[in-house]
């Protein structure tokens, strides 16, 4: 099977997991986002056909919610928490330090498609602020200096 066929198959599986119900479309998009790390155009077309939700609505949802992305992400997702305690303890400087280290702007992906750098809302582990999450793993008490070491652990 070529890539597109594999993708179609996987999306089909996700649709059947939830049943073709329009009100569950956000749940499906979550699973697609988890599977492919973004929402491929063909996947949205497929949902439109199979579930009966207008493509415009799907794009409205995809662009409205922060959890979804329409462009491919890097292999590793770096997320800097932007909750109030993290901000008060220097999260903006952490973002800048990572931007400098990876030579990427916040929201972007490195040229080698290894890292995507983003910020998120409060992740609720404020006792460890400031916090950086890489591929779901939480790293607390980071500093502008030690954050590059944290990132480098994932660079293989």
């Amino acid at each position: 099977m070529d890539d597109l066929a594999v993708q179609t198959y996987k999306v089909q599986e996700i649709i059947s997991r939830w049943g073709p119900k329009p009100d569950l479309v956000i749940e499906m998009l979550h699973d697609i986002q988890t599977e492919f790390k973004y929402l491929p155009e063909q996947a949205l077309n497929q949902i439109c056909r199979e579930v009966g939700v207008r493509l415009a609505t799907l794009y409205h949802i995809a662009t409205f919610y922060n959890a979804f992305s329409l462009t491919p992400r890097g292999k590793h997702q770096i997320c800097v928490c932007m909750g109030t305690p993290c901000h008060a303890l220097g999260a903006p400087r952490i973002v800048e330090a990572i931007e400098r280290h990876l030579k990427v702007k916040c929201g972007g992906t490195t040229e080698d498609l290894k890292f995507t750098l983003e910020v998120s809302g409060c992740v609720g582990t404020c006792g460890l602020a400031p916090i950086v999450i890489v591929d779901g793993e939480l790293h607390g008490l980071v500093t502008p200096v030690n954050v590059s070491k944290v990132i480098d652990r994932y660079s293989d």
């Binding site: 119900k21 329009p22 009100d23 569950l24 479309v25 956000i26 749940e27 998009l29 979550h30 939700v53 609505t57 409205h60 949802i61 409205f64 919610y65 922060n66 959890a67 979804f68 932007m82 909750g83 109030t84 305690p85 993290c86 901000h87 008060a88 303890l89 400087r93 800048e96 330090a97 400098r100 998120s120 809302g121 409060c122 992740v123 609720g124 582990t125 404020c126 006792g127 460890l128 602020a129 779901g136 793993e137 939480l138 790293h139 607390g140 500093t143 502008p144 200096v145």
Partner: protein
């Protein structure tokens, strides 16, 4: 307890990221090695709240509290405490600026002032085991309600208890239930709002991760009272562990017949589904949340259509927050008299007349004991910050506490004796919100914090109504301008005018409360705005465009021996100097990024 000792290992998100699961495994292996498997049990628990001290292990039944544990401490801990019966002082909590460790959990300042209602099972149960919950009176309230009370009696109890919504608004829960029950329609819904979006607030996450069944039981009681057979839990995607715990809890409750058809053989049927949020703050607003559950973008609608009459799929819907649902079973079990004895005011005549019971707060920011606390309503801010929170780290001076998240405000030193309840916080210009408390010290800039919150609300504004979409944007532009040193004296008046306009004209509570951080910072910290605008200075040196970076030649040479790290790290090549010589910053080239300050190990870089 069949075991001599129970090692309660905290498995909340904070402790897990500090490797508490490795700790648990090491404990189990060591206990097995020492042949104690029949005597000692290792239990993973929900969040203990004291996240700053993680990873935490509490030895029950004695309540000995161990903190900041490492895997290498385990063999010694097992040998000393479990084999020889000698607790290990060096692994215990020592209050800041003191020397004597405190062995027992309940003697520690952080825990002493607390009163656990919504968090009643904190650290005592394995959240993934329904039997643990049942052993601590779990589902007893549901049984009592279904077998001995009529729906109206249940609503009567909740109304009389004075319980008010813990998600922020403080609407009396009993009245909401009653209106939903009275609303016309065969099919109705209950919803648990677990879209805890306020930055710096994590009480709902902790309750779900630590005691998911308490929420399900509360929802089932509410469903019975209102006449509902389907409930939804809306959890934000940022809380993966909470979603997982809910899924496990739902399955277990269904297996035990505590959810599903004909619960306790009473003919009452109720089930719950989980819907995952997708990273939109506005979805914490009830109508936006319901739109999202329906599979649409989470845009709110006008408030005059009440959700208790026309909510989810236009049917009567009762939405309450996680903490509210978790409190319900306790009220049923322990009674109105007990609940109303806690808190402020009098709710016997007017449901808005007081704040009853306890409230969970998350303490974070510049505070020694960061974490989650549950305290009686009416505690003062001073008690919260200094007794429970242990004061400000490094002997710094308290500047402000921010309550209520982006919808709340900053409260200054003069208001430290303010009692924490719905009315008093609102009067001071802030609000209860969901219970986040972020403490700031003299190193924080209030203009910058106001800008931070407005950046947040501006970004999260859904864009449906103009006052919120455009108003917050214009306010943010003004704040940015002030932080960049381009502010003009008229900006303060303009900010105030815009604030009132956005509050009055916005469609939902997001816009209606977004200017609060700006208004309270203007009310209590106006001087800082003036210094930014008139003197082009940021007293806390946070607004970097107003900073001037210099290098102290003596420190650079004597301590740092002209190490050159700053020169190599400076992205704009603004630092000059030979190796082993004094370095200097070229102010023409300096873009004020502050890297030199971050990397200098000798404190030679100075900001003015």
């Amino acid at each position: 307890m069949p075991y001599r000792a129970n090692m309660m290992v905290c498995a909340g998100t904070g402790c897990v990221s500090n490797h508490s699961l490795e700790l648990k495994q090491a404990l189990e292996e060591e206990i097995q090695k020492r042949g104690l498997t029949d005597e000692v049990q290792v239990v993973p628990t929900g969040c203990n709240g004291f996240c700053g001290a993680g990873p935490i292990v509490v030895v029950q039944p004695d309540g000995i509290f161990y903190q900041l544990l490492k895997v290498k401490d385990i063999p010694y801990l097992v040998e000393e405490h479990l084999l020889k019966g000698r607790p290990v002082p060096r692994l215990m909590y020592v209050p800041p600026e003191e020397k004597t460790p405190i062995p027992k959990m309940n003697d520690i300042g952080f825990f002493k002032g607390q009163m656990l209602v919504a968090l009643r099972n904190r650290g005592m149960i394995d959240p993934e085991n329904i039997d643990d919950y049942i052993a601590r009176d779990g589902y007893r309230s549901l049984a009592k309600v279904l077998t001995t009370m009529t729906p109206d009696e249940v609503i009567g109890v909740i109304k009389a208890s004075g319980l008010r919504g813990r998600g922020g608004g403080g609407f009396p829960t009993g009245i909401k239930w009653e209106s939903c029950k009275k609303a016309e329609g065969d099919i109705k819904y209950v919803i648990c709002n677990a879209d805890e979006g306020d930055p710096g607030a994590f009480m709902d996450r902790s309750i779900i991760e630590g005691d998911p069944h308490s929420v399900l039981e509360g929802m089932a009681i509410g469903a019975y009272a209102i006449g509902v057979s389907q409930g939804y839990i809306y959890v934000r995607i940022e809380y993966p562990l909470a979603i997982q715990r809910f899924r496990i809890a739902l399955k277990q409750a269904r297996d035990y017949g505590l959810l599903g058809d004909n619960i306790f053989g009473t003919g009452f049927s109720f089930d719950v589904d989980i819907r995952r949020g997708a990273g939109a703050f506005v979805c914490g607003e009830s109508t936006a949340l319901m739109a999202s559950v329906e599979g649409r973008p989470g845009e709110p609608r006008a408030k005059y259509i009440h959700t208790v009459e026309h909510g989810l799929w236009n049917r009567p819907t009762c939405l309450n927050n996680v903490e509210t649902w978790a409190t319900v079973p306790v009220i049923i079990l322990r009674g109105v008299e007990w609940f109303t004895s806690i808190g402020t005011g009098d709710v016997s005549q007017n449901p808005w007349g007081g704040s009853k019971g306890t409230k969970v707060f998350s303490l974070a920011g510049k505070i020694n004991n960061t974490g989650l606390v549950e305290v009686p309503m009416g505690i003062t801010l001073r008690e919260m910050i200094y007794d429970v929170g242990g004061g400000i780290p490094k002997g710094r001076k308290f500047k402000a506490v921010q309550t209520g998240g982006p919808s709340g405000g900053f409260l200054p030193t003069e208001l430290l004796d303010l009692q924490v309840d719905y009315e008093q916080l609102t009067e001071a210009g802030s609000m209860m919100g969901s219970g986040g408390m972020v403490v700031m010290d003299e190193d924080n800039c209030m203009v910058d914090m106001a800008k931070y919150f407005l950046t947040f609300t501006q970004d999260e504004s859904c864009g449906k109504c103009t006052p919120c979409r455009e108003g917050t944007l214009q306010m943010l532009e003004i704040l940015k301008r002030i932080c960049e040193g381009k502010g003009v004296p008229e900006d303060i008046q303009l900010l105030e005018d815009l604030s009132h306009f956005v509050i009055d004209a916005s469609l939902c509570a997001l816009g209606g409360s977004a200017p609060n951080p700006v208004l309270t910072s203007l009310r209590y910290f106006r001087d800082e705005y003036i210094t930014h605008i008139r003197d082009k200075k940021c007293p806390a040196h946070i607004c970097r465009d107003l900073n001037v970076y210099t290098i102290d030649p003596e420190l650079c040479l004597v301590k740092g021996h002209g190490c050159g790290v700053c020169r190599r790290q400076c992205p704009d090549s603004a630092i000059v100097g030979e190796k082993n010589q004094v370095h200097n910053i070229d102010q023409e080239l300096c873009k004020k990024c502050g890297v030199c300050l971050d990397v200098c190990k000798f404190d030679a870089v100075k900001v003015a």
